[in-house]
């Protein structure tokens, strides 16, 4: 009687196993999966490495208002502002961040900077692999935080530059 009960138990357990074999897997395949996060998946509101966004024309959204730095409880954001000129336009407004550093030694991922941002320029991405052997690597510069330029704009910019340099080449 005991044996039968034991076998029944095994079958019951195995039925779960077999049933799951035909269902989509929910185990994360990190770090062997595909995509930028190597198979790791996140809830949409996960607060990871910051991303500095661009607007639809590829300009930086950040206008260097320093509100994120002011809101930051761990004082880890450092900004130097500069003025856009007609020749060199970086952001949509008059001012842009020439230097934008986040010190991830100190950042506590509280999200206050994101809430403070009036232009939705700084957002939390899902980047999470921050570990490093050298603490100075944890100070991320603007170039590391910026969202990539949209492809079509990037190619348009390149064409523009080529055109601008074309007459010089002709000489």
């Amino acid at each position: 009687m005991n044996a039968i009960r034991a076998i029944g138990g095994i079958l019951k357990g195995m039925s779960v196993t077999f049933r799951e074999m035909f269902r989509p897997t929910i185990v994360e395949n990190y770090p062997d999966g595909a995509g930028p996060y190597k198979g790791a998946r996140f809830e949409p509101r996960f607060r990871g490495l910051h991303v500095l966004q661009r607007d639809e024309s590829g300009l930086e959204k950040c206008v260097a208002c320093f509100l994120c730095a002011a809101a930051c409880p761990s004082n880890c954001i450092y900004i130097e502002a500069a003025e856009n000129t007609a020749e060199r336009r970086i952001s949509g407004a008059e001012r842009y961040a020439e230097v934008y550093n986040i010190d991830y030694n100190r950042c506590i991922f509280c999200g206050f900077c994101v809430e403070a941002c009036p232009t939705d320029a700084i957002t939390h991405g899902h980047g999470f692999e921050l570990a490093t052997f050298n603490a100075s690597n944890l100070v991320y510069r603007k170039e590391q935080l910026l969202a990539p330029m949209p492809k079509e704009i990037q190619s348009a910019v390149q064409r523009e530059e080529l055109r601008a340099h074309a007459p010089e080449m002709a000489h």
Partner: protein, 784 residues
């Protein structure tokens, strides 16, 4: 006027009848918000923010234009008032752009504060906002029209207070716009008062634009390093890769002798501190060329050479030239170094006014010196010579506003038709060089009447009549009167029972004179044999030393073997032939590679006045604190340099800087306290009856000695100075002085509003302003 009693929100208040209601409210701590009201300017009632309810008046009244009268019952916190403020804000915000994140005023914007307090967060206006592009009116003034709330403060401060009238209002109603005098640009004194006074970010400064935000800066209250007026300046400082960088100059808390005033130099010419041409490494001449060296090597070379020359040829073979821009402590230390360590009285500086002659002339008279505050409160001002509008902007401001607000009478005697003529009750144009005769004539000496010419004589005669019985008068004279002639000005002041002031040109010209940078005078204009100093310092060289001219001649003859030149450019100022100094071991402490520095054997990169602590004495004798704001890696303050040289020469620096030896060594003011507050640490120390620990590099120790030894400085309250206030000193009255020093050595700087001696040449802002004015064709230029 008689006092009346009114009721504000249930509180009884008594104030003189006719006082403005808004001021009475302010005095009891009731906030009445206002944009257009500004103390000292004419009333406008344009913004409608200050509406309050007054009983028995049918409608709400603007508190900024209502003079109080007996029995008035005022309500400032009722729902009706709050609603009115909210609605007013909604109107103001109707066309105001929402660009607070990029606006320079964001964080210190009055409109922002009011919106925060009264919360007109949502707008009922559906119409699109009017947008206009930003305009550049001058290298330092930018105008962003949509941000403007039309309070007209800028128009009034430019016209009434500055007497420039460069801004106007054009069109009317909602189309009104602030307009500059030359259509699309400004032709003015570029003082930046309009930017400072703008409650929003409509007028922004070319120097500070989009650099940072107010809360990101540290604010250091110090004294301006340009002209001799000594305006209190708040420097906004930010971290930078080369040290702390100054990004803004203003007078944030509107305190000090200048209130809200600053001229272009105070507001923008701080940029010399981070000029690309700053020297940041000691240079030593090696095979005919100046090559970089370490501080140790350079100082060692200087010290060993000085020591060798002193021991072999005596101290008189070494000369020292001091500076008009170093602190009192540094000047005092420098002359003490020359006299005690080098054993030489060969010390001089670039003289811009004849202070020793004034000190000598003041002997045995009842005449006192005037402070900058006296000029604002005097009932009669007599200005002889000088053009304060150009050379002493704060003095001109004090005079103008005293005339405007207090109805003071101004009398001007000048060789030129200067701008202050407009404020003058009477003006006399005298031939150049006869200013002293005019003073003597005004004092009642008819015999000199001939030397000023007929027309001037009549004008002076009328002026003499008008001056009779003048009360609370101040006589101010420029460097036109010097040497024995100064006596004439003092006699005039004595006859009028007036206070007197003499105008020197640079930030610490007066301090340099007070601290004894003279070959024949010790600090406090004392004789070289003065027992006050020999008693403390030991034996001093008794024979007066060489002045600048004699030093140059001695260098030509090979008698002057070494010359230490601190922050001064005698090669240009005294037209020295560069070849004369070739045989001399010339050490120059400088910020820049000036004409003098390029001849030097050793150049030591010095910190400027914004990069060190100490005190300045302005030309009127007001003692004020100088606080370290910026810093630049590689430079050292002159204070430190001199002590290091003395130390390396084997001198016991404890004899140079008395550490804690003084009875007054109770304050350590070198810590950077915030503007307008006392150094909390110092206050705490005093409360505990403790002395701060001092190092040989602490200028406070020298200030302590100055206060103990220099007559006229002892009475100044150190706590008050440390807290950022001004204290009048009386070294001129107390000192012996000398009427015999060569008056020809007084070389006025002839600065305009846009130049500042050698230093001003390195300011990009001043340059750009000069350049932009040069572009305007001469026939289109309006006189300012």
């Amino acid at each position: 006027m008689a006092d009346v009693t009114i009721t504000i929100d249930g509180n009884k208040v008594t104030a003189p009848a006719g006082t403005l209601l808004i001021e009475v409210c302010k005095s009891i701590g009731t906030e009445v918000p206002a944009f257009c009201y500004y103390p000292g300017l004419s009333l406008q009632a344009a913004c409608r923010m200050c509406l309050v309810e007054i009983e028995k008046m049918p409608k709400m009244q603007t508190a900024c234009t209502v003079p109080i009268s007996e029995g008035m019952v005022v309500h400032t916190t009722t729902d009706k008032v709050r609603q009115a403020r909210k609605s007013t804000l909604e109107f103001l915000l109707g066309n105001h752009p929402l660009d607070c994140p990029v606006c320079d005023a964001g964080g210190e914007c009055e409109l922002q504060d009011m919106t925060f307090s009264y919360g007109a967060a949502e707008s009922k206006f559906m119409e699109a906002k009017l947008h206009r592009d930003e305009q550049q009116w001058s290298p330092v003034v930018f105008f962003d029209r949509p941000r403007c709330i039309l309070c007209y403060r800028c128009v009034r401060v430019c016209g009434e207070a500055m007497d420039v009238w460069a801004l106007g209002v054009q069109n009317r109603g909602s189309a009104s716009i602030i307009a500059p005098n030359e259509g699309d640009h400004l032709e003015c004194e570029e003082c930046g008062m309009c930017i400072d006074i703008c409650p929003v970010g409509a007028l922004t400064s070319g120097a500070y634009r989009y650099k940072t935000r107010p809360w990101e800066m540290k604010h250091v209250g110090t004294t301006c390093m340009h002209c001799g007026d000594g305006c209190k300046t708040t420097l906004g400082v930010r971290r930078h890769e080369t040290g702390m960088q100054i990004v803004r100059g203003d007078n944030r808390d509107k305190s000090g002798i200048n209130g809200d005033f600053l001229c272009i130099k105070g507001r923008y010419a701080f940029d010399v501190t981070h000029s690309d041409e700053r020297l940041t490494q000691p240079l030593v001449r090696h095979e005919g060329r100046l090559t970089p060296a370490t501080w140790e090597a350079a100082l060692e070379l200087v010290a060993s050479t000085f020591k060798r020359i002193r021991d072999e040829h005596g101290g008189s073979a070494i000369g020292v030239i001091g500076s008009n821009r170093t602190t009192n402590e540094e000047n005092y230390l420098l002359q003490k170094f020359a006299r005690v360590v080098l054993g030489s009285n060969n010390i001089d500086h670039h003289r811009t006014a004849d202070f020793p002659a004034l000190a000598a002339a003041l002997k045995n008279t009842q005449v006192r010196t005037a402070g900058m505050r006296d000029v604002f409160n005097a009932k009669t001002i007599l200005l002889i010579g000088n053009n304060p509008t150009d050379q002493h902007p704060l003095l001109a401001w004090q005079i103008r506003n005293n005339v405007r607000l207090h109805k003071a009478r101004l009398f001007v005697v000048n060789a030129q038709d200067i701008k202050l003529h407009r404020q003058a009750t009477a003006f006399a144009q005298v031939p150049s060089g006869s200013e002293a005769f005019a003073a003597a004539f005004l004092a009642g000496n008819d015999s000199v009447g001939e030397s000023v010419g007929g027309d001037a004589r009549n004008a002076l005669l009328a002026m003499r009549q008008a001056l009779k019985g003048a009360e609370e008068a101040v006589v101010i004279f420029g460097s036109e009167i010097r040497g024995a002639q100064v006596k004439a000005a003092v006699n005039l002041a004595s006859a009028l029972n007036a206070k007197i002031a003499c105008l020197g040109d640079y930030a610490n010209s007066r301090g340099a004179a007070d601290m004894g940078l003279y070959p024949d005078l010790l600090p406090g204009y004392a004789q070289t044999s003065s027992e006050i100093f020999t008693g403390h310092w030991g034996a001093l060289p008794e024979q007066p030393g060489w002045n600048i001219e004699q030093m140059v001649n001695a260098a030509r003859d090979g008698q002057l073997r070494a010359l230490l030149c601190v922050g001064s450019n005698p090669v240009v100022r005294y037209n020295v032939d560069p070849f004369v100094l070739q045989k001399t071991f010339l050490v120059v402490n400088e910020m820049f590679m000036t004409e003098t520095a390029s001849l030097a054997t050793v150049v030591l990169p010095a910190a400027c006045a914004y990069e060190k602590s100490g005190t300045f004495t302005n030309t009127m004798g007001d003692l004020q604190v100088v606080k370290k704001a910026g810093d630049l890696a590689g430079t050292k303050p002159d204070f430190e340099i001199v002590i290091e040289i003395a130390d390396r020469m084997g001198f016991d620096v404890r004899k140079l800087v008395s550490l804690g030896g003084g009875t007054r060594a109770d304050m350590g003011q070198s810590r950077g306290a915030q503007t307008g507050e006392a150094d909390r640490h110092a206050v705490w120390l005093e409360a505990q009856n403790l002395e701060p620990r001092m190092t040989p590099f602490d200028p406070a120790a020298v200030l302590d000695e100055i206060q103990r030894l220099v007559p006229g400085y002892g009475e100044a309250s150190r706590l008050n100075v440390a807290a950022g206030n001004d204290e009048h000193t009386t070294a001129l009255e107390a000192g012996q002085g000398s009427a015999t020093s060569d008056p020809d050595l007084v070389v006025p700087s002839e600065d305009t509003l846009f130049t500042s001696g050698t230093l001003g040449r390195y300011s990009n802002t001043l340059h750009s302003v000069i350049e932009s004015r040069r572009k305007v064709p001469a026939d289109k230029k309006t006189p300012v």
